[in-house]
Structures are given as structure tokens and as C-alpha cells.
């Protein structure tokens, strides 16, 4: 196998939904008519405006259409050039942001069927996350159950900023279903914009919105740990996608320290939070927050305290690195194979079944 990282598993690529027209064949008669007569279109998330440079690397943009919209380009650039053995597709569209839970459920279903027919059926190296509408947890579970028999779906996808914190019990049926089917929960950067994107209200600029994603991930981790999700569902894995990871050491120190003093409030958390995080949480590589020098990167990875947490990703077609340098400068050579292959296989049981 050729490529710069042959045999690797890319845990985050983004086929783009070109628009509602592409999903119409996968909607039922009622919703097809609603979409057409009401002129519903352009449900891309505000977190990822396609015109922003970071959301489509220049050499990865097709001549027309959205970055990530072209299967042939994705084949050549995301799979072939890297030598990728399997890549997990995380399609981002407005499902999670819709206020109408019935439409959201129908759209999630359509996206999964579209993904299976237009991408997975045409490219055997692709896998995908199951898109669900957490607005209606019962229907979300039904969608997981419906799609779970297709082993090419390897994960359940949620957004970092939704309606409520993800540890809250309203979401637990989703975790029970995910655990039952051997599907990690992938939490992808992005906001439904149902709440302000920072804890202090709306920022003025995109740069604030973008950088504040890390705080959103921290809030979700605190919620998942302290509400007891990993105690209730010991077989559950959560993958943070596009969260960055250099904030993890300081965050875990803070969580541990606080837990020591006030743990009686949440006695089901019977070990330091960082231990639960190291056991249950995985993080994709790109975008890597750029430490100022190679030595700093190695130090941060060492401080995370686990060589099992990082999962290789390119975040294709988003623009976070030049050329083929998905591994940032200074990434420990001895860790690459683990991040490329071993960790993804250990994280996604369904990948393991089909790749080994």
C-alpha cells in the first residue's frame, strides 16, 4: 500500500452534503413535499461556513461545489495519497440544529441512507458515523437501532454544543443504545447555536467562536464524567473530534484537584476524573493546536498520561496542515503506528471486525 501513512485509519473525514436536493430521494413523501414547497435548503451549520479558508484547503476544493463534495477527489486526496486503509465519514449538516424534532429525525435518517448509498456503497474504504437527532432521544435510539445492523456505521455522531449538556439523563438512552451496539459516541466540534457559543454570551467574531470550541468540549467532558455516564455505561467510549488535545493536561489536573475536595457531591465518581477520561475518551489528531516547538508537543503528549487516547485524522477537506503533514512536527515517531492503527482499532470494535 502506497501513501505517506500506509495502512492508517483516518478517524475524521467530511463528505459534504451538497444541499437538500441530494437528500430528497432519501426523504419520505411528506418531507420531500415539505422541503420542496417550503424551499428548505442550505442547512449547513453556522460553525462551518464553507467560504472560511479553514473549511476547505485550496488544493482540496473541487472546481465547483462544496469542499468534500466530490468522491473522486476524496478517494485520491484523503485515501490514496495517505495510503489510508479506512476512513470514518462525519457528515455535518443542520440536523442537530433544527428546532422541529420530526424534521430533524427525518433528515438524520435521510443523511444516513444517503451516506450508505452515495459513499459507502461506492468506496469500500469508507466507514461512517450514524447521524442522529438528539432533540428526540427516543427517535434517535430508533435510528441507531435501525442503522446498527450495517457494520460500516461505526460510531454515533453528536455535536459539541447542543441543547443541553451531554451528561444529562435525557441523553442516556442514546448511550445505552451505543454501548449495546458497540458504537462509540463521536462528539464533533460545532454548535447548534441554540445557546451562545461561550459561557458569557455571543462573541463578536468567528475567531472567538472557533477557539471557544475547546471550552465546549471541556464542559461536555465534565458533564459526562460527573453525571456518571461512564459509571452507568462502562462499555462506552467517547471520541472528541476536532477538539484539539493540548488543553487536556491542565484540564485533567483541574478536574482531579476539584474532585478531591468536593467529590461527596458526586460519590459515583469513585476515581479521579482523569482516570475515567483516559479510560473512556479518545481524541482525534487534527486540528492540532500548534505548540510553539516540537519539544512542547512531545511534553504535552507525555502529560496526557496515556498513549491510547490519540486517533489519527486528517479532517479532510478542512485546512489545518500543508501537504501531507497530518502528523505535526515533533510528533513522537514511536507513537505514530499506535495513533494510525492500534488506537483506532481498539476504539472502534466494528473497524476491528472488518479490517483484521
Amino acid at each position: 500500500m502506497k501513501g505517506v501513512t500506509p495502512g492508517g485509519i483516518d478517524c475524521d473525514v467530511h463528505p459534504a452534503v451538497p444541499g437538500m436536493a441530494a437528500l430528497l430521494p432519501y426523504l419520505d413523501d411528506y418531507w420531500r413535499e415539505q422541503v420542496v414547497t417550503r424551499g428548505i435548503d442550505g442547512l449547513g451549520l453556522a460553525s462551518f461556513p464553507p467560504g472560511i479558508a479553514a473549511n476547505g484547503r485550496a488544493d482540496w476544493r473541487p472546481p465547483k461545489g462544496l469542499p468534500g463534495g466530490d468522491l473522486e477527489m476524496l478517494r485520491a486526496q484523503a485515501l490514496g495519497a495517505f495510503g489510508t486503509k479506512a476512513a470514518i465519514c462525519n457528515p455535518l449538516y443542520g440536523v442537530q440544529a433544527l428546532h422541529n424534532p420530526h424534521f430533524a429525525t427525518a433528515l438524520a435518517r435521510a443523511m444516513n441512507d444517503w451516506m450508505a448509498a452515495e459513499w459507502l456503497d461506492r468506496e469500500p474504504r469508507l466507514r461512517a458515523s450514524i447521524v442522529i437527532a438528539p432533540q428526540d432521544p427516543e427517535q434517535a435510539v430508533a435510528e441507531i437501532d435501525r442503522r446498527a445492523s450495517d457494520r460500516r456505521f461505526v460510531q454515533v455522531l453528536l455535536l459539541a454544543m447542543g441543547e443541553t449538556l451531554l451528561g444529562k439523563r435525557v441523553h442516556w438512552p442514546i448511550y445505552a443504545a451505543a454501548e449495546r451496539h458497540g458504537l462509540p459516541i463521536g462528539i464533533h466540534a460545532g454548535s447548534t447555536a441554540h445557546h451562545a457559543t461561550t459561557g458569557n454570551g455571543w462573541p463578536s467574531y468567528y475567531i472567538e467562536d472557533y477557539a471557544a470550541q475547546a471550552q465546549a468540549f471541556q464542559a461536555q467532558l465534565l458533564s459526562l464524567v460527573h453525571e456518571g455516564v461512564f459509571v452507568k455505561y462502562p462499555g462506552l467510549t467517547v471520541v472528541l473530534i476536532e477538539s484539539g488535545f493540548t488543553w487536556l493536561p491542565g484540564f485533567m489536573w483541574r478536574a482531579n484537584k476539584t474532585w478531591r475536595g468536593v467529590r461527596a457531591e458526586v460519590p459515583w465518581v469513585d476515581r479521579p476524573p482523569a482516570e475515567l477520561i483516559r479510560d473512556h475518551v479518545r481524541v482525534t489528531l487534527q486540528p492540532t493546536d500548534a505548540p510553539p516547538d516540537a519539544a512542547s508537543l512531545e511534553k504535552v503528549i507525555d502529560q496526557i498520561g496515556s498513549d491510547r487516547m490519540l486517533l489519527f485524522s486528517t479532517d479532510y477537506p478542512h485546512w489545518h496542515f500543508e501537504g501531507m503533514k497530518a502528523f505535526p512536527a515533533g510528533f513522537p515517531a514511536g507513537l505514530k503506528q499506535r495513533v494510525l492503527v492500534d488506537n483506532p482499532l481498539a476504539t472502534y470494535p466494528r473497524l476491528k471486525e472488518t479490517l483484521q
Partner: protein, 137 residues
């Protein structure tokens, strides 16, 4: 190591404590249901006056949302940062193997024995009718 007479038993009824200085060390003596325990008044975390903290129960949980409360008044919570210690063992709850507060051996001796010695009882006039709490420091 010497045996110090620190109090009469009536001075520290169940649930009560006495703070004192023995051989230059600040120590707290606790009565837990009729058993006596002596701990160094210094939290191993950052040196807070541990023995001045509240006595609380042990809180564990079998599942999220369930609070299993036991051993009322047998855990000592540091007034500085809230770390909990088992008064019976000196072990911290959060890191029982590595973070422990120093425990001293305590016994109850009849006044007769105390009067006979050898005990250190600088501040005590010992009466044969009373029982005394003795700490080894």
C-alpha cells in the same frame, strides 16, 4: 516515644474532640462511639489544621444518583480544601495509599496505673478514681 496523659475520658465524650500539643506536636484526639483516635493536626495536602475540620459521614454510591451514607461522624474533612480522611485509619479518601495523616496510638488507662507511671502528665493532677486517655508520641 513516650506515653502522654492528655485528658480524662469524661472530657471527650462520643462525637467530641480535643486539640492539644504533645511533645511539640499539635494533635487532635477524637472519640468515635467510645473509641479514641489521635491524629496529627496537619493535613498532608497543604498543611491545613485538619483536626479543626468537620466530622462527616462516609458517602459512597452504587450508581449515579444513589447516595449510600454510612459511618456518620467517622470522616474528617480538612477545613482548607475539603479532603476527607478516615479517622480510624488516617487514610485519605481520594488517595488512600499515598495520602495519609499521621495516627498516634491511644489507650485508656485507669488512674491507678497512671499514678504509678511511667507516664508524662505535665499538666495533670492524676486522681485514682478517674480513667485517662493516653497518647504515645
Amino acid at each position: 516515644m513516650a506515653r502522654h496523659v492528655v485528658a480524662t475520658v469524661t472530657e471527650i465524650p462520643p462525637g467530641a474532640r480535643k486539640l492539644l500539643t504533645v511533645a511539640g506536636r499539635e494533635i487532635g484526639v477524637f472519640n468515635i462511639g467510645g473509641e479514641y483516635f489521635a491524629l496529627l493536626n496537619r493535613c498532608p495536602h497543604q498543611g491545613g489544621a485538619l483536626c479543626k475540620g468537620p466530622l462527616v459521614g462516609l458517602v459512597t454510591s452504587r450508581e449515579p444518583g444513589r447516595f449510600d451514607y454510612s459511618r456518620r461522624g467517622e470522616m474528617l474533612k480538612c477545613p482548607w480544601h475539603g479532603w476527607e480522611y478516615d479517622v480510624r485509619t488516617g487514610q485519605s479518601w481520594c488517595d488512600p495509599d499515598d495520602v495519609k495523616v499521621r495516627l498516634y496510638k491511644v489507650s485508656v488507662e485507669p488512674g491507678e496505673a497512671v499514678a504509678r507511671g511511667p507516664f508524662v502528665a505535665e499538666t495533670f493532677a492524676v486522681s485514682v478514681e478517674q480513667d485517662y486517655i493516653v497518647v504515645e508520641v
